[in-house]
Symmetry: C2
Subunit: 452 residues, 2 copies
């Protein structure tokens, strides 16, 4: 009942893979027949492109559409490339306008244009509307098919007009209420309509509308939809005229996409555009290599810093022993601060004007952590090595933790202020930066304390 | 229209803070009057506990309830501590049963019991039902108030029974269809009911039900609700009998909570239980110190490894210069792999039985990255220092990248297999582990190549 509905049994996946490889189409059809749509999607995502196309073509028409809709856009694009023109056109016409736009973004321009030309006039117009908004805006992710009503209409009239059209729109549960120039004056939920008297005016049951501007950033609008706990957010143009609607399930899809991107960037990789097991190894390498090179180039700073202090190192090799510990602790402290502040930014708990508040908080947090770790570090190193070495380690931990927390806490705000994704300036980046700073602090303290 | 609806203008926040501090209640009331409920929530979250209580008590009753519902449970708990018993009891009775349970989890047991006793009989029973499920299960987060129908009932009958009761349940848009022993046989959406003929039987328009088991992990159930794109997921007991419903807005709330936790753990901090700016500095320190200590203790491994090779270091100090670069690159490679696999696990794209697939993929990815970085590292170091040093650096980068990607990729699967949150075994942890491994590889290669 529960998990099994979305995750295919491993045995069935194996059967599918074997049947595809041995071209045993009847075995394949039998294996497929056992699966729900969600299980099929999960199973198909784990195959390679060729295998996927073979299985896909065996699906009954309705199930094929459902599976296609559930695929990530990259896989949709790949699959389209493997189907015949007629099949693609039929599939494309069945999609909702907003899903069509996700897919169009994935296809080569020529294919996209051909598909658009093949659409019935009305559908083409709806899709073109959505395509007209800038990349990354909510206009491009909204659904243009909305059922609406007017404030002076009665509840009974509204319900009567709604019933024959319930399958024409993305949602029937939230109706924007419009004046006669399509400007939004409120929203009414189907629940409130059903709860009211048939003779009541819509105006008497509608509520103030939360809306999103069509050119607004898609992530911000989706986050607001989720935070408000509403089932749909009407999308309006600059004159408050209704142009579409964002439903909560689309908002969730957008947020999931963004979370994946943020999580990836935090770890210093470009986001994968498809499920892990169906991503070719070379694409994975590509998603990581640029960041790794940039970070490695950044890390040559540490080689230079150490070269400057090479003479000191030769005098006292014991100093080298603590380098990984000290810069590691600095990196961890910086990461902690950056992680907390990045998340607070994403949730809207902190904003760039709060930079001074964040700075003083993180400096205090870093100093407290540094005092504690420094005291422990001093005690242990003084005992095992020498009191003076202990002093160097203790003071360095104090200074490094304070600097690292401050830098790590400020960095995401700086990123946001200069309009870079805060997650980009993130953990690996901060680690590298803090490494070099930490080494300088370390050797300066060592020279001062040890009189080198 | 857009952003301003949720985020209060900074000037208003300043006015509120000043008015609270100068006890200027009329100025405060005026400033509050300007804000929407969402803005108020955002403004209150930025105040300290005392200030928050002062402002809260000035709110009109209905708005006070809305603000309270929008608070994170920790802040709710704190606020309750500052209100009078009568006020608390009234507020508590107004909450939905599932929201009540979030709050009860935050309160001292005695306070919780007193509040429960104060509830009307019916409400107390509903809340107790939800409280009966284990911590972390979806049973504890579902709503027990569900509207249902029967397969042999007609659409018209169902709608007629629904209308007077639309405000009694968490949702009216998804109705579980039950047999006469409360076992779920399907679901019907309000949309399909409205689209059907009044005389049709519910059985003819209902669909197969996706469900969640009441004791199932809350995050998994919420993720499934979001992935399926359904507005609600019925929750059933072990005999398929309906016990409650999970709505998409509650699923989103659960997922956001989990994402915050994962993001925090990835960065090596315990999740904050309230918005950043309203968290006392000492609580922030507490959320970080344990991890930092654990990681620092782990990092003493690197000191020990370096001690073993101290003689080698004394012979050739130049080797020390590359230590931060090499372990940094290893750490970054390991983090990249861990980040990708952790996310794939969270989305269900990878499962523990895939461990061998992940191992071979990550090993190949790591080797390719290592070949590239190693070649560059060899060329530069051979030119700047000496060909033999270049060889050491190049080979070390190759070996370290391969090992780090493999370890980083496997670690989240190991964590999941032993039922630990994969995010815990995460970036800082992997960095520390990879640091020590990398140093050993480095010095072994150096000794072999340089014949030390």
């Amino acid at each position: 009942m529960t998990d099994d509905q979305t995750r295919p049994p491993t045995a069935v996946i194996d059967t599918i893979t074997e049947s595809v490889n041995s071209r045993d189409l009847s075995g394949l059809a039998a294996a497929i027949g056992e699966l729900t749509t969600r299980q099929l999607v999960a199973a198909l995502e784990r195959l390679n492109a060729r295998q996927r196309a073979v299985v896909y073509r065996l699906l009954p028409k309705q199930q094929a559409l459902e599976v296609f809709e559930a695929f990530p856009p990259t896989l949709q694009g790949e699959l389209v490339a493997g189907l015949q023109d007629g099949e693609v056109a039929a599939l494309f016409a069945e999609l909702d306008p907003d899903d069509r736009v996700w897919l169009l973004d994935e296809l080569p321009a020529l294919v996209a244009q051909r598909l658009l030309r093949g659409l019935p006039e009305h559908e083409r117009q709806l899709t073109a509307e959505v395509l007209g908004y800038p990349n990354g805006s909510i206009g491009r992710r909204m659904s243009p098919e909305v059922l609406t009503t007017h404030p002076e209409r009665t509840v009974g009239e509204t319900l009567a007009r709604l019933r024959p059209r319930v399958h024409d729109a993305e949602t029937v549960y939230t109706l924007p209420v419009l004046d006669h120039e399509r400007r939004i004056v409120g929203v009414v939920s189907l629940r409130d309509l059903l709860g009211a008297d048939d003779t009541a005016a819509v105006a008497s049951v509608m509520r103030d509308a939360h809306t999103a501007g069509a050119t607004e950033d898609a992530e911000l609008a989706a986050r607001r939809c989720a935070d408000l706990g509403v089932l749909a957010l009407p999308v309006v143009d600059s004159e408050s005229r209704l142009v579409g609607i964002l439903t909560i399930d689309d908002a969730v899809r957008i947020l999931e996409h963004e979370e994946s991107e943020d999580a990836a960037r935090q770890g210093g990789v470009e986001p994968l555009r498809r499920p892990y097991l169906s991503t070719p190894v070379l694409s994975i390498v590509r998603s990581r290599v640029v960041w790794l090179l940039v970070l490695a180039i950044g890390a040559t700073l540490t080689v230079q810093v150490l070269s400057v202090f090479e003479a000191t190192l030769e005098q006292l090799t014991v100093l080298a022993l603590f380098v990984p510990l000290l810069i590691g602790t600095g990196g961890n402290t910086g990461n902690q601060a950056a992680t907390t502040v990045t998340r607070a930014l994403a949730l809207g708990d902190v904003r760039p004007p709060d930079v001074l508040k964040v700075l003083t908080r993180e400096m205090r947090v870093g100093a407290m952590l540094g005092l504690l770790l420094g005291a422990i570090g001093f005690a242990i190193t003084a005992l095992v090595y020498a009191p003076q070495v202990g002093l160097v380690i203790g003071l360095t931990l104090l200074a490094v933790c304070t600097a690292a927390a401050t830098i790590g806490g400020i960095m995401p705000l700086v990123a946001r202020a200069i309009r870079v994704d805060p997650a980009v300036f993130s953990n690996p980046f901060i680690t590298t930066f803090v490494d070099a700073t930490g080494l300088i602090i370390y050797f300066l303290i060592a020279r001062a304390v040890l009189g080198l």
